[in-house]
């Protein structure tokens, strides 16, 4: 079901937040694939992969 994100709910899952913190990634820059756009670990892992990938990939993604 598509529904609006809850205004008070953190927009990332708790595990995703901890993972992002470890890699110093700002959660707000990640597009969430979870319900109502919630950022999940999978999304963070993809962001990490982009960060650690060779330069070209980063620029092409920017």
């Amino acid at each position: 079901t598509q529904r609006p994100p809850h205004p008070n709910r953190t927009q990332a899952t708790p595990v995703a937040r901890r993972m992002a913190r470890e890699f110093n990634i700002d959660i707000a820059t990640i597009t969430g694939s979870g319900h109502a756009g919630r950022v999940r670990t999978e999304d963070v892992q993809q962001a990490i992969a982009r960060l650690t990938a060779p330069k070209e990939t980063i620029t092409s993604n920017a």
């Binding site: 529904r3 609006p4 994100p5 809850h6 709910r9």
Partner: protein, 473 residues
């Protein structure tokens, strides 16, 4: 071993105080705890634990009445022996309370045996049999708990008038009992005595027993208790208790005029009041209270610096797990780890047969607060495991907000008190119906009912026909 100064001193070793002591010690503090009567407090000695041990016995006895249909025949009816039951209960209590003592030792908490009184400079005086001891503390946590409130009325201190402190060691099952008060404690004890063989009448002053419980849930429980022969009289104000023909006669004013009820015993279970013994000095020194309960801020600190308060002393929830969580939070604050106590998600377990458990808002409260809600229920009769164990009465009810969040959840049925934690976790973890729906619930379990209620609220339950789902909505 004992010292004259502590980092943290705690008054009262109930589920609030002893948990605070352990947490503070784990945080590295030097901790003292003062207990005047029994380790474990109300909860372990005359509350949660003895009641659940006796309710387990009561339920076991109750279930024997339907054992025949399982193919198990008892050639002669079972014989219940109250003394042995009490001995089992005592063994359970002993094990838990001595466990608390062991935990104090294991965490290097100094235990002071006696009445603790505190002043605003955080000097603690412990009095026992006329002897006193004194020590100071950087921080004090008041966890004095509560005691039964006995309204003053003629006959209330007579023979065979009990309360929840004094009803645990009866020599035999009462023939009949009048329970004054239809709150959680009264209702649980009524169910217990009924199953043990007592003829029970409940007298409640309000229009409903279990007033704070969701109406639909409450109504089903009342119906079930009625079928079992428990007489529930509401709108009945108890005026006096007199002796008549060897029985206790309870005189009431009801909406139908004066009425009286007779039984072998009376159990006073109208409410509990905070236990302020030992707080006299603090009161004089300006400790802020609200109708007898100590007032605290979000960090559980009172208006007197360095003095915290927790548990039944501070509010009317009267729940052990709330006292314990407050104990953890107060201990964190008292040891320099700032923490806030959050009351948004407090589960409420009620140990009737069947059990009741709820968390969050009732339907009525949710309707008042939110314009867009969905309310749905799912019956246990449609859950394989419930059918397989022959416990199909009741339902799970969820109240969902417009973001798919849980506003409230209510379960009446087998194992409700364990099951409610799934919804509590969903609420506290900010999960929506979507995550519950995606979570595979094992088959055959009662927990499937919790997912089905969510599916029902989403309009697509599996195990009830669509028409029934639509009608229920």
């Amino acid at each position: 071993m004992t010292s004259t100064h502590y980092d943290v001193a705690i008054i009262g070793a109930g589920p609030g105080g002893y948990v605070a002591a352990i947490r503070a010690a784990q945080r590295g503090a030097k901790v003292a705890i003062v207990e005047k009567q029994y380790m474990g407090g109300t909860c372990l000695n005359v509350g949660c634990i003895p009641s659940k041990a006796m309710l387990h016995i009561a339920e076991t006895l109750h279930n024997l009445s339907s054992i025949e249909e399982l193919g198990i025949t008892l050639p002669q009816p079972p014989v219940f022996n109250m003394n042995k039951a009490v001995a089992f209960k005592d063994k359970v209590v002993k094990r838990m309370t001595s466990g608390v003592s062991t935990l104090m030792k294991g965490n290097n908490v100094d235990v002071f045996d006696g009445l603790g009184s505190v002043d605003a400079s955080r000097t603690v005086t412990v009095t026992k049999d006329g002897n006193t001891q004194q020590f100071s503390a950087d921080k004090v946590i008041l966890a004095n708990g509560s005691v039964p409130f006995i309204p003053s009325m003629p006959g209330v201190d007579g023979d065979k008038v009990m309360n929840s402190d004094t009803c645990w060691n009866l020599p035999k099952t009462p023939e009949s009992l009048i329970c004054v008060g239809g709150g959680v404690i009264g209702i649980e004890l009524a169910c217990m005595f009924e199953a043990l063989g007592t003829k029970v009448t409940i007298l409640e002053m309000l229009p409903n027993v279990l007033a704070p419980v969701d109406e639909e849930v409450r109504k089903l429980l009342v119906r079930i208790m009625g079928k079992r022969g428990i007489n529930i009289v509401t709108n009945a104000k108890v005026e006096s208790i007199v002796d008549e023909n060897g029985l206790k006669k309870v005189q009431t004013t009801t909406d139908k005029g004066e009425q009286s009820f007779s039984a072998e015993y009376v159990l006073m279970a109208v409410s509990r009041r905070p236990n302020t013994s030992g707080l006299e000095q603090l009161m004089e020194q300006g400790l802020d209270t609200d109708r007898g309960r100590v007032r605290v801020n979000d960090n559980l600190e009172t208006n007197l610096p360095g003095i915290y308060a927790i548990g039944d002393l501070i509010h009317g929830a009267g729940l052990a797990h709330v006292a314990s969580m407050e104990g953890e939070i107060a201990a964190d604050n008292a040891t320099g780890h700032p923490a806030i106590m959050n009351y948004d998600v407090v589960p409420n377990p009620i140990y009737t047969f069947p059990e009741i458990a709820s968390v969050g808002l009732t339907e009525a409260a949710a309707r008042e607060k939110y314009s867009e809600i969905r309310v749905e229920r799912f019956p246990w009769s449609a859950i394989g495991k419930a059918v397989a164990i022959g416990e199909t009465e009741g339902f799970t009810k969820v109240i969902i907000g417009k973001y798919g969040e849980f506003l409230g959840a209510h379960i009446i049925g087998p194992d409700a008190t364990n099951l409610i934690t799934e919804y509590s976790l969903a609420m506290r973890g900010e999960l929506t119906v979507d995550e519950v729906e995606e979570t595979i619930h094992p088959h055959p379990t009662l927990s499937e009912g919790l997912r089905e209620a969510v599916l029902a609220a989403e309009g697509h339950p599996i195990h009830i026909p669509p028409r029934q789902a639509a009608r229920a909505r």
